[in-house]
Symmetry: C2
């Protein structure tokens, strides 16, 4: 529940790789894939999607590869998620199909509050950047900090 998809994981992995080892050279998907033991074809597609959104820049040809598109601090996690998994949307109600998703029934008192929750979550992803992921330490530990323990319910 509420975990990232593997595509997003791969994207974060690749972006971090470029940020640390790809500052002065071009890096291809193949290299990253075998470093982390993940399927190369899938990673390639993910990186293409990231390039499309300008989070990376691609250089074709035999000596080609990828480079970071902007500075890490200007790449939000939300952008990464949207690049890999589409718009970070929200309760299945109002996605185009206004009819069959959430039929006539359910006089939704839920939609408003649910939207608020998801908007807050989106906000977190939007204000956290790749730079935060790269940093070993809190960096912007405010708000909830690290002090709040997880409610780890027994399985």
């Amino acid at each position: 529940m509420f975990t990232f998809t593997k595509k997003t994981d791969y994207a974060l992995l690749a972006l971090c790789f470029l940020a640390t080892e790809g500052t002065d050279r071009l890096v291809g998907p193949r290299e990253i894939a075998q470093r982390y033991e993940i399927p190369a074809e899938l990673l390639a597609k993910v990186m293409q999607a990231l390039a499309k959104r300008k989070l990376m820049v691609s250089v074709p040809g035999p000596t080609g590869g990828y480079q970071l598109g902007r500075e890490a601090i200007q790449i939000s996690i939300a952008e990464i998620v949207e690049a890999t998994d589409g718009p970070l949307a929200i309760a299945q109600c109002w996605e185009e199909s206004g009819l069959d998703g959430c039929q006539q029934a359910r006089h939704c008192h839920l939609r408003g509050p649910l939207a608020r929750i998801q908007e807050q979550m989106a906000g977190i992803l939007r204000q956290m950047t790749l730079a935060d992921v790269l940093a070993p330490e809190p960096l912007r530990g405010g708000r909830f900090g690290n002090a709040v323990p997880l409610i780890m319910a027994q399985k």
Copy 2:
């Protein structure tokens, strides 16, 4: 991406129903199910799970039914999610299997930052309660408020 499961939707629906119409009587799953046109058996299971966590109390027998277990303001969304979908855990890395989830590789610079993100999300769910869902208005609109528009990327 980042939507609740239907089980959680059903749970919220049922809890709201109990909070509004079940204050002075017992309500069974059947009634709620046909009101919202959702599968009764599944809703029954969800409500059983909620009762197990004391979010509802159940009274068996022909005239039995359910009632809210506590006041709405003391039921956090996090509890509801955990009741229906298990612990709101976090990147698939460290769930018991320490080995095959995230093999030797991936010298995870990711784990820490990811945990921080998900901890913030869990925090939101933990501090938001059923009362907030019932309220028609913001009630605690701070932080991100309703003013921040969604980045609705084109499909």
